[in-house]
């Protein structure tokens, strides 16, 4: 089992690393615009979750109401390692920063396997150059989302 320190030094999965590169390569002002694009691009909640808040988990650390749920595919060969993770978020249009964080995580993590998601370093939210653009305090919402995503994946893959 790896220690926390080892986990923190781990590389980002490919899609997330590309997003981090996109953010880091533009000036701070443009990072806000990029984040707004992720906010606009966050997929709507699928029909089966609409109107069912009890099926979603609220991320209380976000200052706006943000709900998420994780689903795991059935593995082709029945092994946990093969199961792919799907992420679903609900956040109001009035919370574009929170939606933007969710959009990044969705684009960067959706479709990865269970071990890949669990290996995402806990400090990933700090690798987008967003602290300068939105302030470090606000990033705690994204840290909390990632933490709850991994927690749900851990629970559901163990079941």
């Amino acid at each position: 089992m790896s220690t926390d320190t080892d986990t923190d030094r781990a590389a980002l999965p490919t899609a997330l690393a590309e997003i981090a590169e996109d953010f880091s390569s533009v000036p701070v002002r443009d990072r806000l615009e990029l984040l707004l694009e992720f906010s606009d691009g966050l997929p709507d909640l699928p029909e089966r979750y609409v109107g069912h808040p009890e099926k979603l988990e609220q991320v209380d650390e976000c200052q706006s109401p943000l709900f998420l749920v994780v689903e795991l595919d059935e593995a082709a060969d029945g092994s946990v390692g093969d199961r792919r993770v799907h992420l679903f978020f609900q956040a109001p249009a009035e919370a574009p920063t929170t939606r933007g964080f969710a959009g990044i995580l969705h684009e960067g993590l959706d479709g990865l396997t269970v071990p890949e998601v669990l290996a995402v370093p806990d400090d990933a939210p700090y690798r987008f150059g967003l602290a300068e653009a939105v302030s470090p305090l606000r990033l705690r919402g994204m840290v909390a989302m990632l933490s709850r995503i991994k927690r749900q994946v851990r629970l559901k893959s163990a079941a």
């Binding site: 806000l32 706006s64 009035e94 939105v134 302030s135 705690r140």
Partner: protein, 289 residues
């Protein structure tokens, strides 16, 4: 030169009606010389999704907080932030924002630390403007920078620090957080990341009056009689009391500071902006559950 006061009859009953404008007043005065409209939200991106035409953004965290110390910007930086946005010392500033003007009230409170004389809130804030179908734009105005004097911030009148709150114990304190935060239960969720305080509960003797109770359903402030029913009759506060309000980091309590000071005419209200993130972590301060 200051713009005229909104003579909306609903405002007349408040102690300081000159601190509020209605959406109609703002629509009527948009674009006039001497007026700058400021949007200040909890969410740093909300302005960029669409704002009142001509308004400029002031971000509570990136513009009003010092990036290093846990304090507000100094006079030089404040002058820069306002001057860049075309705000002079005698400009009439109308601030509006999301969440019942929670952050707008916070910005107004910080402007007040610098003694900016004519600063008003848009009653009902961003939500009411939108609900009325009024215009929003994504166009960011190019403000003509003006000179804003370097003013030394005065923290002595409307701001309280931890030691002052310790000395204040036994006198009126208002905790404006949610009931779960007040009772301390919200810090005890197993397996979840914590909010940053090692102790839950409240400052001894503080009364629990969640800040949003001062707002009506449409985000405007409740009328004076309803506000008096909460703060004077139910909580037993008196306008001559020395009152300290606090929340988690000082933003929600700015809203209550505004209500007590400008709407109900309390004479001495201070916002303890260190609030629970400081108190709940400070060594040897008393906590009540």
């Amino acid at each position: 030169m200051a713009l005229p006061i909104d003579d909306n009859p609903q405002f007349k009953e408040y102690a300081h009606p000159e601190r509020l404008v209605s959406t109609q007043w703002l629509a009527d005065h948009l674009g006039q010389d001497g007026l700058v409209v400021v949007e200040s939200d909890e969410d740093v991106l909300l302005y960029d999704t669409g704002h009142i035409p001509g308004s400029v953004k002031v971000d509570w965290h990136n513009d009003l907080n010092d990036p290093l110390t846990r304090d507000y910007v100094d006079g030089a930086r404040f002058a820069e932030v306002l001057g860049q946005r075309g705000i002079g010392r005698d400009t009439t500033v109308v601030i509006y924002g999301d969440k019942n003007n929670w952050w707008a009230a916070y910005a107004l409170w910080v402007f007040s630390l610098f003694g900016h004389e004519d600063v008003r809130l848009l009653d009902g804030g961003r939500a009411k403007w939108i609900a009325e179908g009024r215009e929003l734009t994504r166009d960011v105005p190019t403000a003509t920078p003006v000179g804003y004097p370097v003013i030394e911030r005065d923290d002595s009148v409307i701001r309280a620090f931890r030691d002052q709150v310790l000395a204040h114990l036994g006198q009126p304190l208002v905790d404006v957080r949610s009931p779960g935060e007040y009772s301390g239960e919200l810090l005890h969720m197993p397996d979840y990341p914590q909010e940053g305080a090692v102790r839950g509960g409240h400052i001894p003797g503080a009364k629990s009056v969640p800040w949003a109770r001062a707002a009506a359903e449409d985000g405007t402030f409740k009328n004076r009689a309803d506000l008096e029913a909460i703060y004077l009759e139910e909580q037993g506060l008196k306008p001559t009391d020395d009152v300290v309000a606090y929340c988690r980091i000082g933003e929600r309590s700015s809203h209550t500071w505004f209500v007590l000071t400008h709407l109900l005419g309390f004479e001495k209200v201070r916002n303890y902006d260190g609030s629970w993130t400081e108190w709940g972590n400070a060594v040897r301060v008393p906590v009540e559950k």
